[in-house]
């Protein structure tokens, strides 16, 4: 494919830039499978928005809907579980903090495949969870290869992305503010809602942003732990690049995902800028 023609269309340019070298090799093998395209070329040098319009097809719309929903659920669970953990670590003694951080970052240091096998042992048909359910006389449930399993896997690996920024902003809140709130009559939960939460909002926003953007672009975890019929956008892009060789379509999905993430980022920046003005100046 001609580089000049490709550069005319930014989305094909992106595609050509990233896989430009492989492009020719693939074409010469004649292994193109996508029937809508030329049998000798992965990319046709014609400008079209068809690849973007198709995102509104029910299949792709469901794909995006599922991806964004799983991202949202993962982010929400990370926030709910991460807040107490971040608070605990931010106020912990140095030795406890070191141990806690090590445990927190551990999942990132383990190969995804090994981690997933670990989850299979726990969540599988005859896994630990189901054995426990059977032992107390309940029906076993299907956990592995469901959306639940995907969310569990994503929460497991992306928790540090939530906890670290939250921790950083909680650390900057002087403990005397907590005591002042309690002295003025706030119970611990009231204190948390009225001082820690609003003052660590910038950390919460960055944590959510990080977790959400890495969750919606997740590939390995949904591929290994999710149902093949309920895929996420990352898997679809992978398939369209390497299985169906429909690179323009893959590029349009990728760009849509990037644009969506950027949109979130700017929205978050606007909110944090407002919140940043209220941060502690000392």
């Amino acid at each position: 494919m001609g580089a000049a023609a490709a550069l005319g269309d930014p989305r094909r340019a992106l595609c050509a830039l990233s896989v430009g070298a492989a492009d020719r090799a693939v074409c010469q093998c004649g292994a193109v499978q996508c029937p809508r395209l030329s049998p000798t070329k992965v990319v046709l040098p014609e400008l079209t928005f068809a690849n973007y319009l198709k995102i509104f097809d029910p299949y792709y719309a469901r794909l995006f809907g599922r991806t964004l929903r799983l991202g949202l659920v993962t982010t929400a669970i990370c926030a709910v579980l991460g807040y107490p953990l971040a608070y605990f670590l931010a106020r912990a003694r140095p030795r406890v903090l070191a141990l806690g951080l090590f445990l927190l970052i551990m999942p990132l240091m383990v190969s995804t495949v090994i981690r997933v096998f670990g989850w299979i042992v726990i969540l599988g048909r005859k896994g630990m969870v189901n054995q426990a359910l059977v032992a107390v006389g309940l029906e076993p449930v299907k956990l592995l290869y469901t959306e639940t399993a995907v969310v569990i896997g994503l929460v497991n690996i992306f928790m540090p992305f939530m906890v670290l920024p939250l921790m950083a902003s909680i650390e900057r809140i002087p403990p005397s503010l907590e005591e002042a709130a309690q002295n003025l009559g706030a119970s611990w939960p009231q204190m948390f809602l009225r001082t820690i939460m609003p003052l660590s909002l910038p950390g919460l926003i960055s944590g959510c942003l990080l977790v959400y953007s890495v969750s919606i672009s997740a590939f390995v975890t949904p591929a290994l732990m999710g149902s093949p019929r309920e895929r996420m956008v990352g898997q679809q892009i992978y398939d369209e690049v390497l299985v169906s060789f429909n690179w323009p379509s893959a590029a349009s999905l990728a760009i849509t995902l990037v644009l969506f993430t950027l949109l979130l980022l700017f929205a978050a920046l606007r909110v944090t800028r407002r919140a940043g003005r209220l941060e502690i100046r000392q």
Binding site: S176, E179, A180, A181, N183, G185, Q190, L199
Partner: protein
């Protein structure tokens, strides 16, 4: 329980580890009183305050407010206001919301909240600051808002944890006087923690002097200054000449002592019991009279020739280092008056010590 006692602290003890502990500390704070806990850093005064506020749990002892046990209640149900050293204003709330914080937690109606916050801001002299954020206020203004935030809840007791230590010198004096006026006007029982003796002397009705996790003496500012109970109190409050001495003679007119520097002093005050006669003697520098050398007058028992070793000029005051015959050295403080104008280093003078101004203490 005696009438008028607001807060009763009995045997307060806080153990952090086998080595570090505070107490046992016992004291009573009377209704409407301004009570100070004074001591060097690490003496346990802040720990005591934090125990009363509920941020530390007691290892032993009890705290009662008007006869009701306080120490088993969580911090938010104690009804004691605390003004923090760094003010601890909420940076995400403006002045109005800071002051209204406690009222909103108590679900006070909006109209009433607005009225009470307004009245409080009026009281601390900052009614026009309601819309400002804490970061837009000076240290002194933050201090007043912190006081208003506690006072608006009408707590039984208002406590201050070194509230003036972050202010510069002039502002500190100004806030100190303001604080005293405010406290006198409201008649609010107050506990004030400080390491600054002038603050404690200027503000308090009574002072508890602490050292090494224990109370050394409780008394009015004058009692603490004029009749310190221990050598530590004498040394900590004000500047002092603290001399080692032994009792030479005792009769109905007073006591004769001799310092290690060989100075023989007649003291009018009641003598302390001391095995072997070893005691400490306190001479306040400002109570030592310095006279230009001349013949001794009749009836002046403690008159000694001395040589001025050094003069420190402090504007309002002059501090003299004096050397006496026998090698005893003393510090004296004089007002910078005409009488002091002629003094110069190496000059020979006489010093006179009134027998009533000498305090005998246990070593």
């Amino acid at each position: 329980m005696p009438a008028g006692v607001e807060l009763d602290v009995r045997g307060l003890t806080k153990r952090y580890s086998s080595q570090v502990s505070v107490g046992p500390i016992s004291f009573e704070v009377r209704e409407g009183e301004f009570f100070s806990l004074l001591g060097p850093s690490g003496c346990g005064k802040t720990t005591t305050l934090r125990c009363i506020a509920g941020f530390e749990t007691l290892s032993a002892g009890s705290i009662s407010l008007r006869g009701v046990r306080l120490d088993d209640r969580p911090p938010h149900r104690r009804d004691v206001g605390l003004v923090f050293q760094n003010y601890a204003l909420f940076p995400h709330l403006d002045v109005f919301d800071n002051v209204a914080f406690g009222l909103r937690l108590r679900r006070v109606p909006t109209v009433q909240t607005r009225e009470r916050v307004g009245r409080m801001l009026e009281l601390v002299g900052l009614p026009e600051m309601a819309g400002r954020f804490p970061s837009q206020l000076s240290g002194g203004q933050q201090q007043r808002i912190a006081i208003a935030r506690s006072l608006v809840l009408e707590p039984r007791i208002l406590m201050f944890d070194e509230p003036l230590s972050n202010l510069d010198f002039k502002l500190r004096i100004q806030m100190r006087d303001e604080l005293r006026r405010l406290q006198r006007r409201l008649g609010k029982t107050s506990i004030y923690v400080t390491h600054d003796q002038t603050e404690a002397l200027a503000l308090s009705d009574r002072i508890a002097v602490l050292s090494h996790e224990k109370i050394e003496q409780i008394g009015t500012p004058a009692e603490i200054y004029e009749r310190p109970a221990t050598a530590f109190v004498a040394d900590f409050i004000g500047s002092s000449n603290l001399l080692q001495a032994r009792i030479v003679e005792r009769n109905e007119r007073g006591t004769v002592i001799e310092t290690q520097g060989g100075l023989r002093l007649y003291c009018a005050g009641g003598a302390v019991d001391s095995a072997g006669g070893d005691i400490s003697v306190l001479l306040r520098p400002e109570r030592i009279r310095v006279a230009v050398a001349g013949p001794a007058e009749e009836g002046e028992p403690n008159r000694f020739p001395a040589r001025i070793a050094e003069i420190t000029y402090l504007g309002e005051d002059l501090h003299l280092n004096l050397e006496l015959a026998g090698g005893q050295s003393l510090r004296a403080a004089l007002k910078n008056s005409i009488a002091a104008a002629g003094l110069a280093p190496a000059q020979q003078v006489h010093i006179v010590v009134d027998p009533d101004d000498i305090r005998l203490l246990h070593t």
